[in-house]
Symmetry: D2
Subunit: 335 residues, 4 copies
C-alpha cells in the first residue's frame, strides 16, 4: 500500500497514520522524494482501506500487490516524463534518441560526434568515461577529466549528456557534468550504488542486468525511488541466453511488459541488444514500434578503430540513416 502524505504534514498527524498502519499489522517505511512524501506499507492482511483513507494528512492511497510499489503503474497510471531542460524530455510520447561512442576517447572524437548529433537534431549524447571491464588489463576510461572536457563541448552545442556511474565515490564528482546517470548492467543489483543515487536530484537510467528479470529491474528502480529519487528510466539492453549468433538476445517482449507494469519511461539499447553492427538498425526500429520511449545506441566516426565495442557501433552515415528511419517510424506510432 502506498500512502501519499499531504505536503507539510505535522508530526502528530503523521504519527497517527503510522500507528494506524501498525495496528493493521503492516510495517511502514517513510519515503521522501524530491517531489513528494510517502508511507510505503508492507503486509499481507486484508483490511478495509477506508479505515485509513479517511484520516487527516493523507493526499492519496493505493493498494499495490507487486513487490515493487512506487514504480508500479498500479499506483501511478500517468506516464512519468523527465525534463532534462531546454525542451529535451524522455517519456510521455515521442522518441528520445541518445547516441555516441561506447568510450569517450579524445576531444576530437567528442567534437566529431557532437557535430554529427547536431546535424541530425539529436539532443542527447551517450559515452563512457568509467568503463566496467571484465579483464583488469583492459582500457578503463578517461575518467572525470574526460567528462569535464565533454561537458564543456556539449553544453556549447546544447547537447545533454548520459554517462555511466560505476561506484558511489564517482557520484559527487560526476554530478555537475551529467544530465542522466546511467547504471550499467553489471550494477543493476549494486544496492549501495542505487541507494546513493536515490539522494541525487538528477535522472538515473537503470539498465537491466545481464541476466536480470523484468521484476528485478523494477525492484532496482524501487530502490532508487524509495531512497528519494523519482527521476528514473528503465533500459532493456538484451539478456544472456544460449544463442550464440548474437551477443545478447534483445528481449523485445520486455518493452510492452515494462510499459504496462510501470509508469517509468523505457529506453531500448539495440547496440548491446544484438551486438552486430549491421543489425542494430532493424532492432532499433522494432523497439521503437514496440513502444520504447527512447533508443540509445553506439556510433563512432570510425567504428573499426573504437577503443571498445567497435563491432556493434554504427558509423555516422549509418547513424544518420537510422535517425531518419526512426523519425519516420515515430510518425507511424503517433497516428
Amino acid at each position: 500500500m502506498i500512502i501519499e502524505l499531504q505536503p507539510n504534514i505535522g508530526p502528530e498527524i503523521k504519527r497517527a497514520i503510522v500507528e494506524k498502519v501498525a495496528a493493521i499489522g503492516y510495517k511502514s517505511m517513510e519515503v521522501k522524494t524530491q517531489r513528494s512524501h510517502y508511507l510505503v506499507a508492507i503486509g499481507k492482511k486484508d483490511f478495509d482501506i477506508r479505515t485509513i483513507g479517511h484520516m487527516p494528512g493523507i493526499a492519496d492511497l493505493h493498494r499495490v500487490s507487486d513487490e515493487y510499489k512506487l514504480v508500479s503503474r498500479k499506483w501511478k497510471v500517468a506516464p512519468t516524463v523527465l525534463d532534462l531542460g531546454d525542451g529535451v524530455t524522455i517519456g510521455g510520447g515521442g522518441l528520445a534518441i541518445m547516441a555516441g561512442p561506447c568510450s569517450i576517447e579524445s576531444e576530437k572524437q567528442i567534437e566529431q560526434t557532437l557535430e554529427h548529433l547536431v546535424a541530425n537534431n539529436v539532443k542527447i549524447m551517450r559515452g563512457g568515461v568509467f568503463k566496467p571491464r571484465s579483464s583488469p588489463y583492459a582500457f578503463r576510461g578517461l575518467g572525470i577529466d574526460g567528462l569535464k572536457v565533454w561537458y564543456n563541448l556539449a553544453r556549447a552545442r546544447g547537447i545533454k549528456i548520459i554517462s555511466e556511474v560505476m561506484q558511489v565515490s564517482q557520484i559527487e564528482p560526476m554530478l555537475p557534468y551529467v544530465d542522466v546517470f546511467q547504471v550499467g548492467a553489471r550494477n543493476t543489483q549494486n544496492f549501495n550504488l542505487l541507494d546513493e543515487l536515490g539522494k541525487v536530484d538528477k535522472p538515473v537510467m537503470i539498465k537491466r542486468g545481464i541476466s536480470g528479470t523484468i521484476d528485478e529491474l523494477l525492484s532496482s528502480a524501487e530502490y532508487v525511488f524509495s531512497a528519494g529519487n523519482e527521476k528514473l528510466i528503465l533500459c532493456e539492453r538484451g539478456i544472456r541466453t544460449y544463442e550464440r549468433a548474437s551477443r545478447n538476445t534483445m528481449d523485445i517482449n520486455a518493452i510492452p511488459i515494462l510499459k504496462a507494469k510501470s509508469h517509468l519511461p523505457v529506453v531500448a539499447d539495440p547496440s548491446h541488444g544484438i551486438g552486430i553492427r549491421e543489425f542494430v538498425p532493424p532492432v532499433a526500429l522494432a523497439a521503437a514500434v514496440a513502444g520504447a520511449d527512447g533508443i540509445i545506441y553506439e556510433t563512432h566516426q570510425k567504428p573499426e578503430e573504437a577503443f571498445s565495442d567497435g563491432q556493434q557501433t554504427l558509423d555516422f552515415a549509418e547513424s544518420s540513416r537510422l535517425i531518419n528511419q526512426l523519425n519516420e517510424v515515430i510518425k507511424f506510432i503517433q497516428n
Copy 2:
C-alpha cells in the same frame, strides 16, 4: 561447395564431375529437388575452384563454408518467393498475414474465422488438427476429418491453409488439404519427418526449436531441401529463457540474422513469442519492422473459451486492429 548441374545432364558427364570432386578429397551428395539438380560437396581442403568450374555439365558453382549449404544466402542471393496460387505469395517483399485459432474446434468456429479473415483481406488461415500436447490427457485435435471440413469451407472462400504435421504417417493424408505444412517447435529436429517432407511438393514452414539455435533451424531446413523440397519457410516463435514474465522470449534478433544468412522467407509468431494476449500486437509490429516476411498469430471468436492457448489469442476486434496496423507498417517498410 554447391554445384548446380545442368538440366538433363548425361550420366557420364555427371560421373566425371563426381570423380573430380572425389579427387580433391571432398565427399559429394547428389540432391534432386523439384526445381533443380545439385551436387553438395563437403570437405575442408583448399583448391582452385576453376579446376571444377570449367567442366561440362555444370550450370553454377559456389563455395559455402556454413554447415548448411543449400539454404545459405552465400549460395543463392535472391530471396526465395513461395507461390501458394491465386496470387498468394510469401517472401520477396510484402507481408503475408496468417491468422486463426490454435486448434480447429468446430465447423462453426471455422466459418466465423473465415468470415473474419475475408473481411480483413487476409489470405491464409492457420489452425491445428493434430495437437502436440505435453500431457497425454489433453485435447489432441480433430484430426484429418476436421481438416477436410476446414478445407472445403476455406476453398469456397479462397483462403489458404497452414497446419501442423506431427508425424510421417500424417503427411500423405494431409497432403491434398493443406497449402503449407507446419513443423512445430518440438519437431524441428525430428529428422525423419524432415526427410519425408523433402519428398513433398508443397511448402513447409519450420518453427525454430523451443531452445533451438538459429544455426540448428537452418540445418533443419537444409534437411528438407537436401531431401528434395526447396519450398521452405523459417519461423521465429520465441525461445526458452530464464525470464518468467512472458511465456517465451521472442528473439527479435533472429529475424534480421536469418534474413542475412538465408534466402528463405522468415515468418514471426508473436503469439508464442510473448504468450500474453495484450502484448501480441506490439511484438507483431516489431517483427514486421525488423524485416519479417510474414506474421502468424492466433485469433479466436472467444479466446476465453478456446480449447488451447486462449491466454495468447486475440479476439476478432483485436485481430482486425492488428491487421490494420500491420498494413500501415508495411507502407513504412516499403518506402
Copy 3:
C-alpha cells in the same frame, strides 16, 4: 486420481466406476499396461475419496495432483525395478553401468568394446545404429544390419543392449535386438514415438530434452506409461545454458528431484552432461553420489578416431578406472 482396477474386472463393474467418476465431474481415461489396469481420472473438484474407494472392482486408489500421474511417487512409493534378465537390473539400489561408443562403427569395434565390458564386469552396452545428426551430410549410422551383428556378438557374451530409436518405423525391426530402447534428447517430445513405445513390452529410457524441464520429462514418461508400458527409465543428460566452457550443463539437481517426484529409475549421462573427456569421471561420480540408479557413458578403443563424440569419449584405460571408482562409491552410498 489413479484408480487401479482389480484383475479381470467385469464390464458392468467397470462401467459403474466410470460413471461414478463422471458423476463427480472428472474425465477418466482407461490405461492398460503389461502389469495392470487403471483408470486415470482428471479433474479439479473436491470430493470424498471414500465414495469411490469402497466400490467393487477397485484394487487401489490415490489422489495425484501433478500433471503426470502414473509416474508420480505420490501414487507409487516403492521404486520401480527393471529386470533385463540374467540378473541384470536397473533401479531399486545398486548402480547400473552402461558403456560403449557413441556410434556402432564395425564388428571389430563391437568385439573390442564387449571384451572391455566383460573384463570390467559391466553388463550393458550402449551404442547408436541410427544417429540423429543436425546436418544432413553427417554419418547416420549402420542401421538395423549393424544392430543384428552387435546383438549376436553381445548375446554370446551375456551383455545387454541399449540403443536409440529415432522413429516409429524403427521400433518393430529393432525390437528383437535391443534390451532397452533409448529415446534421444531431440525426441523427448516426439509424442507419436512415445505413444508407439507404449505398446512395446521392453524398457524405454527417455532422455531429458536439450532444454526440457524436469516436469516435461515426467510428462513424456507419462505418455509411454499411459499408452501401456510401465518399464521406464528417466535420463538426465545435461541442459542447454549460456555457459560455453562445457557442451551442456549437467543438471545434478535433477537427480534427487526426479527421484523424489517419481518412482522410476534415474540414469545420468555424464558424457553429454559435460562433453569434455577428462571431466567425465568426476561428473559420473557426482551423479552416482547424488542418487542416480545408473550411469551411461561413452567409451571407444580410440576416441580420437571415433565417428562421433570423440571429444567426450573415454578410452578403455580411463573407462576401467572410472568403473573401479564407481564401484568404490557404490559401497559408500550403500552404507
Copy 4:
C-alpha cells in the same frame, strides 16, 4: 606472459625488463602482492621467450594465453592453500566445511550455531551481517555491531568467520572481524569492490555471478589478484537457467573445470545451488566427489523461523548428518 621478479629487485634492473617487454610490443603492468612481485605482460606477438628469460632480476616466467593470467594453472601448477590460522586451511586436499545461517539474527542464534559447529568439529562459520536484498523493504542485516558480537563469541570457541562484504566502505570496519571476505553473486563484477579487496591481506571468496560464466569468475579473481591479494577462493553457487523445479541450477561441471583452469581452491554452495532444503545433502556430496575443496551451506536452529533463505536451510540434525556423510566421502576421495 607472467614475469615473476626477484625479491628486492633494483629499479634499474626492473626498468631494463620493462623496456625489453615494451620492445617486443607488449604492454606490461606491475603487480605487487603480499607474497611476490610480478610483471603481467599483455600482447599477441610471437617472440623467443629466452630473450627475456635470461635477463637479471627474473625469478620465473610463463606464457599464459588465457585472458586471466595470475589465477591460471598454466602459470602456477601447484594448488593454492589458504591458511586461516590455528591449523584451519582451505585448498590442497581435504574438505573445508563452512556452515551457518543465511543472516546473523541474534546473540542466542550465534551461540547455538557455534555449539553445533564445535560439536561436529566444523571450523568455519558463515553468516551475513549485510544482506543484499532485491526489495528495498526487506531485512538488511545486523551490520557491523552484529559482526563484533559474532567475532567475540566465535573467537572464544576457535571458530573462523566468513561473511559477505557488499561495498567498499564496509571493508575497513569488517577487516578486524572476519577471516574470509565473501563477495556475493550480485557483486562478482563490481570491479571497484574487487580492486579494493586487492589491497587487503585477508582471503577473499568470490561467488560466481547469478548468470556469470566460468571465465568471468576467473577474470574477477584476476582483478583482486592483480590489485595485490593472492588469497583467493572461487565459489560455485548455481546459475540461472530456464528450469523452475530448483532455485538455481548447480553447475557441477564448473568444479572440475575451475580446478583444471586455476590453482585457486574451489568451494561449492549447495544451499543456493539447488535451493531446496531436502536436496542440499545429495548436492553437497556430489560437489565434494567432483573435486570441491570446500562446502559452504546454510544451517539454522529453526529453519522455518529464519529471517531469510529458510526453505534451503538445514536444521542442526540434518546438518550433523551431512557433516558425517561428507567426512565419509572425504575418505573415499583421498584413497
